[in-house]
Symmetry: C2
Subunit: 204 residues, 2 copies
């Protein structure tokens, strides 16, 4: 039997039209972030952060920074999904519960810390990881939202510099995506057609 | 009632140990890629490609390029998830089925093409999009694999230059992730503990 998650993945579409009368309360927003952060990240860095823009005033402000896209305001919440450059000094704290529970040897936690320090000394690699980790979490949030009967609309069309300034992102943070989540209104497009598998897959 | 996909997301873990007697046939690999590519991408660029490394010889070769990580060989298949720099000249072909079906006006397809040409003229933005799109697809594949009773192990620990050379990636392509998929063997860690929500979420 096909698992119901397969159908969710097949049926997901990027929503553009949201029911602007539908709201999400704080526990519902927290649950979306809890699920999003169950995504994997390199070395379990969890180098992500979420600003849930929900109030009418804040949504209006963010809409202006997203070239007036209405879904930013019409959705129940629009997340600014923030990626963080890997920081080896933060890693011990993120691994210690797994060391304390007896899963990970302390020596391995130190090795991972060294690997993070070395591996991301190249700023291109560091930025790549911020984008990758934040996207792992954002994608997981989209599927979690679908499982809750909600729709999502990811956006890269926004003024990244203005969002960083306006929402006081730190120097080691970047806004990777905006993600509108709420209840669908009428008139959304279905999922757009995909390239044939022959174009995108090689088995060897 | 909680949708079963929520439990999949909660229970997913990054597998390190795979049953090396378990194989996936080509239709199963194709189905994983079909589901992965239902992920969204900016402007529906679908700027991704998948090399499914399945044969014993190819897995051995890729293991060497991934610092000897055994899961590359032990998994039924290890995907090289490739991101492509956005190419505005490729976009009309990717949008035309949606124009032909009457969903998208032709003028909008042209606007999107212009937006891709302009928006990704900055090479940093172009690389970001390659990482983001490939990660959207890879994350979706992880959840699809879980829905099929499989486990997955994402990896960034590999020699990107060597993988690009050895698998003949084009100049506008980069290997964003390796993703091992197969049947779990004994001895995997559970999902690692996550940062508290208070550290990663701000509602406003």
């Amino acid at each position: 039997m096909t698992h119901p998650a397969i159908k969710l993945i097949e049926d997901r579409y990027s929503a553009n039209r949201f029911d602007n009368t539908f709201n999400l309360d704080t526990p519902e927003i927290e649950d979306l972030v809890r699920l999003a952060t169950s995504a994997p990240s390199a070395y379990n860095l969890q180098n992500w952060r979420f600003i849930a823009v929900r109030s009418k005033m804040e949504k209006s402000r963010l809409t202006d920074l997203a070239y007036g896209q209405r879904k930013v305001s019409d959705a129940a919440v629009t997340f600014i999904v923030v990626g963080q450059l890997p920081n080896h000094t933060a890693l011990p704290q993120r691994l210690h519960p797994f060391v304390d529970s007896g899963h990970m040897p302390q020596a391995m936690a130190r090795e991972w810390q060294d690997a993070v320090q070395t591996g991301y000394s190249d700023p291109v690699m560091a930025r790549d990881e911020a984008i990758r980790s934040a996207t792992l979490a954002a994608t997981t949030m989209m599927i979690a939202a679908a499982a809750k009967g909600l729709v999502s609309g990811p956006m890269v069309g926004f003024d990244a510099k203005a969002v960083s300034d306006s929402y006081h992102l730190a120097n080691d943070e970047l806004p990777v995506m905006l993600l509108a989540i709420g209840r669908a209104a009428q008139g959304n497009w279905p999922q757009k057609p995909r390239r044939p598998l022959t174009e995108v897959l090689k088995v060897q």
